[in-house]
Symmetry: C2
Subunit: 329 residues, 2 copies
């Protein structure tokens, strides 16, 4: 008696084996899911598109990467607030021809991310479509009053980033061109395919009240820093020489690759961008659980973005990160 | 300095003018939204696709109906639990050419639904796409322990529906054919374009603990009753003559329209299907706030769906509601 869509839902549920618990009181299978929020905590909500042709390519991105990444990038928004993911909703539209092997591998990648980040499936919606369409909603929680917003940066605050910037963009370029500069284990391709949201760093910065403002880097530093500054009604001055750029290819970076440009405008890094009062910045370690924390500039009263290049030369920072309404596919 | 996507977000925020409050502590504009759940309440979560070509047609459905309906149908899942909607997330992908007039009217319809159902925008994601893609996540709340699930029906319970079934399907047929049988004020077209989730009935049934099981009718009675019975591990016997069918065209229904078939298999009604113990059913009013409540059959121990037709003839009820994996566009 099961219809096609119900069978698909069954396969998803079997693969992800979501379990209820004290928080997720009712998961997949009813009209909606039911959560039991903890007292003293706020609920975090975020959603992200992940669309074939726009955010990934069916022929270039392995199905398990599509599964991993659609969840990991949405969880990155929870990390950006300083929160902990609790569960997610999956909206999935699939061609009939992909309900076999492709779906199996997609679900394996999704299951890997769900387990890795402690974020079980709570519900969703499925339908048939000629292209693969995914929308993921993640629900998280943060202790009341600890959430770090984009709007808290003050003039004089120092600007930090986690990890290295531009790696995922380089990985995408390698993937598109079919030339993997670093071989099969190319770290930049791994970072592009299987990003790791910076949950532990984000939670630590929030709990210790180190960060005055925070967001994740999804569209590229130039675009995202513009947004953080707009929300905080401030400007920023970035020291180009201090930005941690792609490392994996040191020494064999071809001339066509400009590491600074990649770091400024490359998307999909899912590193954290955060600001810290100078008095707190002095005590900040150089790394947290192996993730480098690097100061790259400071917040200014003057509401513009300035890049300080070699020889202290100052220029306006061009905003050239990812924007679906300006870029052509 | 605003990029294309940021401008689109600004227009959405301006049109919907979401306001924070005691529940929605932080709305659009940061990495995520922040909610402050009330003590003694559970959080309800649901999401729904609304895709051009699959769920609506750009040339046939007015943009304000697309805006209204994408939210109303997701809110219907909150009604189906007996809950109250609190806020929603909008994932919207649009062609560049539709960011003018179409978007304006779409947002007007969405604003109408958001105000009508007390469900402000909390966040979302936007991107560019050749087709209009919408995914809506609604967050609601229900007093702890009052949620009505699909799984609570017991043999002997009586089966009820709200409103009249098949109207929205008839409206869709009129819209597709261009022949509005009921003129410009055709109620079935209105029901198809601007559905009203049964929030008040659902909440009343939950609060008074009248319903033992409940769900909303989105894919058609035959498909949805199958799901309720599967979740409750029971069967059902439906009296065909008791089902409230399309009324708007009484007397002028053309021979091609089979009101019973519409009621059994037509989708998009967003009425409620619920079960009641016989002892409680006797006291149930014939209508609640103007919405008819009609008994159409009973839950059985034997796990099959039976339709009882004229002359008490019994047949297996065919499951022919909407299923995107069986139907061709």
């Amino acid at each position: 008696m099961k219809a096609g869509e119900d069978k698909l839902v069954e396969r998803i549920v079997e693969a992800l084996a979501p379990k209820g618990g004290p928080y997720l009181a009712l998961g997949v299978g009813d009209d909606a899911a039911l959560l039991r929020p903890r007292q003293g905590y706020e609920t975090i909500l975020t959603c992200d598109w992940f669309l074939e042709g726009s955010h990934f390519l069916r022929g270039k991105h392995p199905p398990d990467s599509v599964g991993w990444k659609c969840l990991a990038r949405a969880i990155s928004d929870i990390a950006a607030i300083g929160g902990q993911p609790k569960c997610f909703l999956l909206s999935l539209a699939l061609p009939r021809t992909l309900t076999g092997r492709w779906l199996h591998q997609f679900l394996a990648g999704l299951r890997g991310a769900a387990r890795s980040f402690g974020c079980p499936l709570a519900g969703g919606d499925t339908t048939r479509r000629d292209e693969i369409l995914i929308s993921v909603t993640v629900i998280g929680e943060v202790r009341a009053g600890e959430a770090v917003l984009r709007s808290g940066a003050k003039p004089g605050d120092l600007i930090f980033v986690t990890g290295r910037l531009g790696e995922a963009e380089l990985g995408l370029q390698s993937l598109r061109s079919g030339r993997t500069l670093g071989g099969r284990d190319d770290l930049s391709i791994k970072k592009h395919l299987y990003p790791e949201p910076r949950l532990a760093v984000g939670q630590w910065l929030a709990r210790k009240r180190v960060a005055t403002a925070m967001m994740d880097l999804s569209d590229g530093l130039s675009s995202d820093l513009t947004r953080l500054c707009a929300a905080s009604r401030v400007g920023a001055r970035i020291a180009i020489g201090k930005i941690p750029t792609v490392k994996v290819l040191r020494g064999k970076v071809p001339k066509s690759v400009d590491a600074t440009e990649l770091a400024l405008h490359g998307g999909d890094d899912y590193e954290l961008l955060f600001t810290v009062r100078p008095s707190r910045a002095r005590g900040l370690p150089a790394a947290f659980e192996g993730i480098p924390l690097t100061g790259i500039g400071e917040i200014t009263r003057e509401r513009r973005l300035v890049r300080v290049g070699p020889g202290e030369r100052e220029e306006t920072l061009a905003v050239r990160g990812w924007d679906p309404f300006r870029h052509r596919k």
